[in-house]
Symmetry: D2
């Protein structure tokens, strides 16, 4: 694993955890109607973050391209989560934006 990937790998797993938690927590909220898009993006963001972490850790030739796409998914998910006041959504939004930033750096 390249040293420069370390922070980004950690951000990816923190983001995956925040997204898995946000999806499961949204499904227990009262105002479920508003959470449709949030849950959908969480499911996809968690899984692409886990794959990006694998590609970086294995120093794949496609790691940078995957980070670029992962940043886009994180960005969308972070924006959607940021619209909701639940603590899990706000926490997820921060993790997504942090991960998007790290992934963009890696992809540059």
């Amino acid at each position: 694993m390249l040293n420069e990937y370390k922070n980004c790998i950690e951000s990816c797993y923190l983001c995956a955890t925040a997204c898995d938690n946000c999806a499961a927590s949204c499904l227990e909220e009262e105002n479920l109607e508003m959470m449709r898009e949030c849950i959908k993006l969480d499911m996809q963001c968690a899984n692409i973050c886990r794959l990006a972490a694998q590609f970086m850790t294995q120093n794949s030739d496609s790691a940078q391209a995957l980070c670029r796409l992962c940043a886009e998914v994180c960005q969308k998910c972070g924006e959607e989560c940021g619209k909701h006041e639940h603590e899990h959504c706000q926490k997820c939004s921060r993790a997504c934006h942090q991960c998007a930033e790290q992934c963009r750096k890696m992809a540059a």
Copy 2:
């Protein structure tokens, strides 16, 4: 890959597809309130089915134990989906029960 695993691997991927589709489709339904448990189980069932397929394909020593657990998750997901009349839920329920049966055979 062992020949006896072939049908079960195929069932696992069909089940993963049915679950991914059911989760995304549930999130667009009017009666979202009733779909909470269905969406949650779909998310988990899809991912454990994909892992079970990998373990069987690679003839892992833990493939049978994972199939046993996968059968339990599929069984629960199939029962939950079976409660709802949406076509995607009914289709997912059938795929889950079919996959549960194949996984139990593999685990035996």
Copy 3:
């Protein structure tokens, strides 16, 4: 799930199976030295194919972009596997090229 994605989802799971099988089979070959790159690409190709299948099934806004990247990984993996005469490598090469073609169509 959009109907136009069906063939591509199926190709992705067939490719994931071929890659998982090729990686595990390569690890039992006599001429292991030559299989280094093949095993590495197989590991990554299997996992990105599974993710692409999820994104398409859930009609993600990022499905096309992920298919584009998946096609590149499949292309590389298919070329590497094609260099080796083992039946599992040849079979994997065909599955990779088939999946690359389908993914490129989806991404277009």
Copy 4:
């Protein structure tokens, strides 16, 4: 996410990273012949750790059962990696044993 799961989720992702890294690094070692089993177990251990993390984070009813199985896979992988002197193998062995212990606690 339940608070008691936090340490175990973190151990799972650290273990996944150690396994991904160990697999890729083994594939560049001179004594590749001896690393066959290590690479195979790494591939499977990384993916089951990622799934266990998802199940715990989402407080799945099957999280404990998956942790029990994950502990077994980590235990095997940690023992195999422990046989080799490469730094990545030794590091992976420690991460696997640590994760196995945490998963056993969660499963108890």
